[in-house]
């Protein structure tokens, strides 16, 4: 899966058009991972 999206201009040259929106799930997944890790560490610290 590529980070960026490209298209071709009228001369057939590769042209940058933006971020690949198929990566939209990554910020949500990354935030979810941080939350789970923090929640587990917090629970462990409180259990001590």
């Amino acid at each position: 899966m590529e980070l960026l999206r490209y298209t071709k201009d009228v001369f057939g040259q590769k042209m940058l058009v933006g971020v690949n929106w198929e990566l939209l799930w990554i910020p949500g997944a990354a935030a979810g991972l941080v939350i789970v890790v923090h929640f587990l560490l917090r629970a462990r610290r409180r259990a001590r």
């Binding site: 042209m15 940058l16 933006g18 939209l24 990554i26 910020p27 990354a30 935030a31 923090h38 917090r42």
Partner: protein, 202 residues
């Protein structure tokens, strides 16, 4: 001597609270109007997006005026004490730190979100030149297609970073141990210090 966590007062004045909530509302509207169409929910998102973007720009300018004229940078600049705090926290040690209005994590979050929001806002303002509004006519010829691509990439990557930061911000703000901070951002009064052991009130 009193514990800093219980030493309360006006933590956030109303102009700063107003900025925070205006920014929160605009960021929610901006992310919703940007990402919902990508997820397949169709609506005329462009006017909603650029108008709320203008509101965000005004809010940021207001915040910068407050920073330069009222608050200064000192409370938000990271320093050795913040490194000590984070290192101590990771090692399971606590205490022995000088009192501070913002702890190392709050400062880190602030600067991460400041960089992401400034990147998305500056590129967003440039992108306004691609649309017709009642105030200006579009003029995409100011940049090459390749340069517009770079602007879109910065706008897109910073918006993804903001999505990540907003989710974390909501999670940390609703934790029971942070509820006093959340109340302070709503009503103004709350803990004067986010870290530190003891401190005499001035």
């Amino acid at each position: 001597m009193r514990s800093d966590q219980t030493q309360t007062g006006v933590r956030h004045r109303w102009p700063d609270r107003a900025f925070h909530w205006v920014m929160a509302a605009t960021v929610i509207v901006l992310t919703g109007s940007a990402f919902l169409p990508i997820l397949g929910i169709r609506f005329d998102w462009v006017p909603i997006h650029w108008i709320s973007g203008i509101v965000l720009v005004v809010a940021i300018l207001f915040h910068l005026v407050r920073v330069f004229a009222v608050h200064g940078f000192r409370e938000m600049i990271p320093g050795p004490e913040d490194i000590r705090e984070a290192a101590g926290d990771l090692a399971g040690r606590a205490g022995g730190l000088k009192p501070a209005k913002y702890d190392a994590y709050q400062k880190s979050y602030h600067w991460a979100s400041a960089i992401a929001v400034l990147a998305v806002t500056i590129t967003g303002v440039i992108m306004l030149l691609k649309i017709d509004t009642p105030f200006w006519r579009r003029d995409p010829s100011i940049m090459s297609d390749q340069d517009w691509g770079v602007v879109y990439v910065i706008h897109g990557l910073s918006s993804l970073a903001i999505l990540f930061l907003v989710i974390l911000h909501v999670y940390f703000s609703i934790l029971p141990e942070h509820r006093a901070m959340l109340r302070a951002m709503i009503a103004g009064r709350g803990p004067l210090f986010a870290r530190g052991n003891t401190h005499e009130q001035d």
